[in-house]
Every structure is written in structure tokens, then in C-alpha cells.
Amino acid sequence: MINVNLPQQPDREALLAFWASASLLVGLLLGTAAFLAGVASPAGSLLLGSGAAGLAVLAGRSRERMLDRAYKRWSKLTRAYADWARRTVTGIWYWTVFTAVGRTAGRGLKQADSAWRSRGTVPDQAYGDPGGSITGRDGVGGLRDFTGWAVRSGRAWTLFLLPMLTVLRAVDTRESRSSAPDIYTLY
């Protein structure tokens, strides 16, 4: 799933791409609204939407200085949404999956051995590396590692947390490289 955030430090290409995307969204909304309200026929709605998007793109091209401001405002809105979504999603999953599993089978969880082991003299590469931060395999095989760990350690139920982890990753506003930094306790 793609990250909801726009690229940081936008160059001119990014600004133009952002404006084209926003224009397309406006055109899409206008066209859909016109069609749903019965104001225009399907062809007319398509024409209206395309026209609005085209005009918006041209307006942006003629006043490129305002693109940077628009980009920053949209990024701010995106961050606000991402923060809200992160809090809401973690809340929903806490009160559903975590609470249900903890209340009914929590004893089993507490008795389970921790996956953490002291390092000793074994090289770093010998340990499991779900995030790829040690071996540099950013994101490569992360899902396979997680699945393997879940099955091996008898915590296969954590596989159902994957939708939540996917959404959390997508709304992560921090500069994370592979896995979200706040999910380490799962391992």
C-alpha cells in the first residue's frame, strides 16, 4: 500500500505532478457530482470533469509560484489525517483483536516464551531481521519473515494484524525505512 504522504522536499516535477493530481481529483468530484445530481448526462459529466481538470492544470501552470504554498497546505492536511487515522486504527484494533485475544487466551500469551534472546557472541546477521535494518534488505522478505516467525513461535493469530500493520505503515508520517518503528514489541 502506498504511503499517504506526499514526497518531502518537492522539486518542480513533484509540484507539477501534485497540481495535476489535485486538478484530476477536482474534475473527478465535479463530474461525479454533476452525474449524481442529474445535472448532466454521463458524457456531459465526463466533459465537465475533464474541462474543470484541464482548466485547473492550466491555471496552475500559469501561476507556478502558488504551487509550493498549495503543496504545503495539502501536506499539512495529509499529516493531520494520517495522525488521526493512526490513532483511530490502533484504537479500533486494540479494542477488537487485542482485547478479545487478551481476555480469552491471554494466559497463554503470558506463558509464551519471549522471542528476545541475549546477543552473546553470535554475529548480528545470525538473528532474525524482519525489518531489514541489519542486513540492509529494506522491506525485502519482511512479510515472509513475519509469517515464518508467527507460525514458528505459535503466534499465528498475529497474522490477522497484517491489515492493521499495512494501514499503519501507509499513514506513517515519520521517516521510516522498512517496518514501522513502534511494532517491535510484536516480535
Binding site: N5, E13, S21, L25, A85, T96, A100, G108, F160
Partner: protein, 50 residues
């Protein structure tokens, strides 16, 4: 106990996904603009190589 935990997590995960959907839908404009921007940026770079 492991099977019970697995089943319970599965059932509640379905509920959680349904509850999470509105959160994702509210942010639909952000998802659309973000993904389109990345795609268009690649396109603009391809059309106008620096």
C-alpha cells in the same frame, strides 16, 4: 488454546477491518492525490529529462 486464539483473532479481525474501512475511505482524497502525484512525477521526469 492456540486454535481458539487463532479463530478468535480471525473473527475479530473481520470486525476490525469493517470498522477500519471508514477511516480509509475518509482519507480517499489523500490516497488518490498521493498515488497520482508519485505516478505523475515519474511521468513528468520521463517526458522532461533533466
Amino acid at each position: 488454546m492456540g486454535v481458539l486464539r487463532f479463530l478468535l483473532a480471525g473473527v475479530t479481525a473481520v470486525v476490525a477491518v469493517v470498522l477500519t474501512l471508514p477511516v480509509v475511505l475518509v482519507g480517499a482524497p489523500f490516497w488518490i492525490v498521493s498515488s497520482l502525484t508519485r505516478a505523475f512525477r515519474t511521468l513528468v521526469r520521463w517526458v522532461q529529462p533533466r
